[in-house]
């Protein structure tokens, strides 16, 4: 076991992690640990853009952006956080431009902007051009630009170091004469994939920026590596997870494959049609139609299919129609996604509509933080030295449904805040003593997976988990489907104790890695399903057919899921609530 010592350790090297590292690396001794190489992170798969009210092409302001974000999240957004994000969006885009990001330009040479779902002028009057973009590879450009600037600032990366545990100690603190126990961060434990050795990183500050958990689903736009590790580590260590019932299904995944086709296609004028050739979004969102927020579009698509108006021989998808757009325009603004349609489905988007269906895309929930990116261990207690940003976190700017482009914004705004706060804390705080035998739990976890000979296959359990999540915890949910899903997850969890990992080596043992990842996936599927069962209303991305209305009286609250073996009814997940922060906007009916 090797021990390293850094002021700040950042877990994850996607957009949020690298944005944090650029700030923290210039102020404090910083290490970034990633289970991949930085440029492999899934930020690079984001396509459409990053919204900021620059008003480069038409009138706009950050207050309209704040409102759209709050309404888009069906009023479950913490409005102080949304306001921070919309205000700082402008600087975040300009920061990236100064770092070198090659944005598309207007004829005057300014950053160009285009339309995106749910982003409107003057509180919903009409779509507004707010998304700053680089063709349909904005995420790629952000990831590359941030990596380039990490190289510039000599950020220290530990590539293919898989973090498996968070080290915290309980300390007594006395404030105003009251003594209480407080968790403090001591560091993390990581597993070096190349050598199979464990490395302990002692740190004053730890920033979690490890991304999402899309691989609990079968049909997903997410990378294979997005297995909820960061959320899982925090949850196992007693940190609650907030709003995990809210998972976004992106309307336009390539049918059957789930590969993302950006909402920018609709921003550039593409529309959805059913098997009858009808532009059905006119019925569901008469004002902004195909540019309604994702939850509404995804549900409308699923509804068209349920009512028999799906296209194709099995009537199981709808069509994204770009055929009325100029090929030159498509080439200039949407080159990558049209290539995906050609490569993976053999469809030519110039002349044929593209088969699409909702694909699991983004976790609105995650590790609870405040607007300084500090992690909370309950509704209001900060864990000193622990930070989270990006998809792993829930600040909450997305509420029950995230607007398109707001994730690239979230990672930049709150990644920067996390990096600054982590460095600032590290400059004044002392190291916390590493607990005795810091790797015991991690070694047990790995040894269990490595030495078990029960014969169950990791890939099969994972497939069955993904199947039940796709079938029962997708766009439409009921008490019955959720209870059944929990029951299946419990049996899968039991089988998971009897897996056999075939690769017994130390070097690049990715067979073992997948076994560990499956453990996190099972935990997170359970949390997501238990939280969905708990919320007996429909709001944003969470639609309960047995409770189809939003119920502000009983459920205008965040959910907080704690690991608790005593909560046997809900598979060891205890649900509590946390108040939503309101500043300017009172809840209204959500119509588009």
């Amino acid at each position: 076991m090797q021990v390293h010592k850094y002021d700040v350790v950042i877990v994850g090297a996607g957009g949020a992690g690298m944005r944090a590292a650029i700030e923290s690396g210039q102020r404090a001794r910083t290490a970034v640990l990633t289970k991949l190489y930085p440029t492999r992170s899934h930020t690079g798969a984001a396509q459409g853009g990053m919204c900021a009210a620059l008003a480069n092409v038409e009138e706009d302001n950050w207050e309209w952006h704040t409102f759209d974000t709050v309404k888009g999240g069906d009023y479950l957004v913490d409005q102080d956080a949304a306001e921070v994000m919309a205000k700082e969006a402008i600087e975040a885009v300009l920061d990236l431009e100064k770092m070198g990001l090659p944005f598309n330009r207007t004829p005057e040479g300014r950053i160009d902007q285009r339309r995106f779902g749910g982003h409107t002028r003057d509180h919903g009057k009409a779509p507004v051009r707010r998304s700053c973009y680089a063709a349909d590879r904005t995420g790629h450009m952000i990831l590359q630009t941030l990596y380039q600037n990490c190289v510039k600032h000599n950020v220290e990366f530990y590539n293919e170091y898989y973090v498996l545990d968070l080290l915290m100690v309980d300390q007594e603190v006395t404030e105003d004469g009251v003594t209480r126990i407080q968790k403090r961060v001591a560091g993390v434990v990581s597993y070096d994939l190349a050598s199979g050795e464990l490395h302990v990183f002692q740190a004053k500050s730890v920033v979690f920026a490890s991304g999402g958990v899309g691989k609990v689903y079968k049909t997903t736009s997410n990378a294979h590596t997005l297995t909820g590790d960061g959320m899982g580590i925090a949850f196992r260590r007693g940190i609650p997870l907030e709003d995990m019932e809210f998972f976004q299904f992106h309307p336009t995944g390539l049918a059957g494959l789930g590969i993302l086709l950006s909402e920018a296609a609709r921003g550039e004028g593409a529309i959805l049609r059913n098997s009858e050739g009808e532009r059905f979004m006119e019925r569901y969102a008469p004002t902004i139609k195909d540019l309604a927020p994702r939850d509404i579009v995804a549900r409308s698509m699923a509804n068209e299919v349920r009512e028999g108006r799906g296209a194709g021989p099995n009537k199981d998808y709808v069509l994204l129609d770009l055929t009325h757009l100029e090929p030159a325009h498509i080439d200039a603004k949407l080159p990558d996604i049209t290539e995906f349609a050609r490569t993976y489905l053999g469809v030519e988007p110039y002349t044929e509509p593209v088969p699409v269906f909702p694909t699991a895309h983004y976790a609105m929930g995650g590790i609870p933080t405040n607007i300084k990116a500090e992690v909370l261990s309950d509704n209001d207690t900060v864990v000193p030295g622990l930070y989270a940003a990006g998809e792993v976190a829930c600040v909450s700017v997305h509420g029950s449904n995230r607007l398109g482009t707001n994730s690239l914004l979230d990672i930049n705004v709150f990644g920067k805040r996390a990096g600054l706060a982590a460095a600032e804390y590290a400059l004044t705080a002392d190291f916390v003593e590493i607990p005795e035998n810091p790797t015991t739990e991690t070694e047990e976890l790995l040894n269990r997976a490595r030495s078990s000979e029960g014969g169950e296959r990791v890939a099969l359990i994972r497939k069955e988990l993904q199947d039940i999540m796709d079938a029962n915890v997708q766009v439409f949910r009921t008490e019955q489907t959720l209870v059944e899903a929990l029951r299946v997850i419990d049996t899968l969890e039991e089988r998971y104790t009897r897996i056999t990992v075939q690769d017994k080596g130390k070097r690049f043992n990715l067979d073992l890695l997948e076994a560990v990842e499956l453990g996190f996936l099972l935990d997170m599927a359970k949390v997501m399903t238990a939280a969905a069962l708990h919320r007996k209303e429909s709001r944003g991305g969470h639609f309960r057919e047995d409770y189809p209305e939003r119920d502000d009286e009983n459920f205008m609250t965040h959910s907080m899921a704690y690991k608790d073996p005593r909560a046997t009814e809900t598979s060891g997940v205890r649900l509590e609530t946390k108040p939503v922060i309101f500043t300017r906007y009172q809840p209204m009916e959500r119509k588009y």
Binding site: L94, K98, Q148, T343
Partner: protein, 257 residues
Amino acid sequence: MEKEPASKVELAPGVGGGGEIPTFDITLKVRRYNPEVSDEAHWDEWQLTMYGTDRVLDALHKVKWEHDGSVSFRRSCAHGVCGSDAMRINGRNRLACKTLLKDLDTSKPILVEPIKGLPVEKDLIVDMEPFFQSYREIMPFLVSKGHEPTKERLQSAEERDRYDDTTKCILCAACTSSCPVFWTDGQYFGPAAIVNAHRFIFDSRDDAGDMRLEILNDKEGVWRCRTTFNCSEACPRGIQVTKAISEVKQAILTRKV
């Protein structure tokens, strides 16, 4: 903006396609190497039934998940944007997630090997450090002198277009590891590093072009390129790599961009 599209259109019969996906059988041969077990590499092969929409990555996953969990390869996004799974497929450098099985000759075994010129760690996994070392040496970041504007720097659409092609690089190493010069001379910067230098040399906002040109004027720089076009053929992003290298050569000679 285009005019509003029609509320309802006649769809062509059979639009979208789909339905029953055809299956076919393949033989997948993978070059195995694990120094924990043996110093010698060897080939393993499997007979697999695959679907018409499957890619080489799906075949590798099928082997790993159903037959032999020790087969090791990197992958992440699985749709050609993260650059993890560059490998030699039937002798050509490609991304496994972007290579459809049906586009290969499935009457013969499909051969999968690690990319060449970088030390093999295990099976299809190579040590990427020398590759990233070359990348870091060409100063792959915007260097801008003078006052920082309060808002964005201006750049015309034409200026932006000048370096568009080389911004697409995903650092997968398919180009560099297809280059015969790189195979024999590991000191050569290689196509990917030059592509990333090009991306900044031709960016109107950048002020360090001369320094990068000086770096690439080195004996291990652009002049080692023998214009064999392997790199351009290998690039999964369709970057015209050889053209970019030629433009850098030209810029060194004329000191004009």
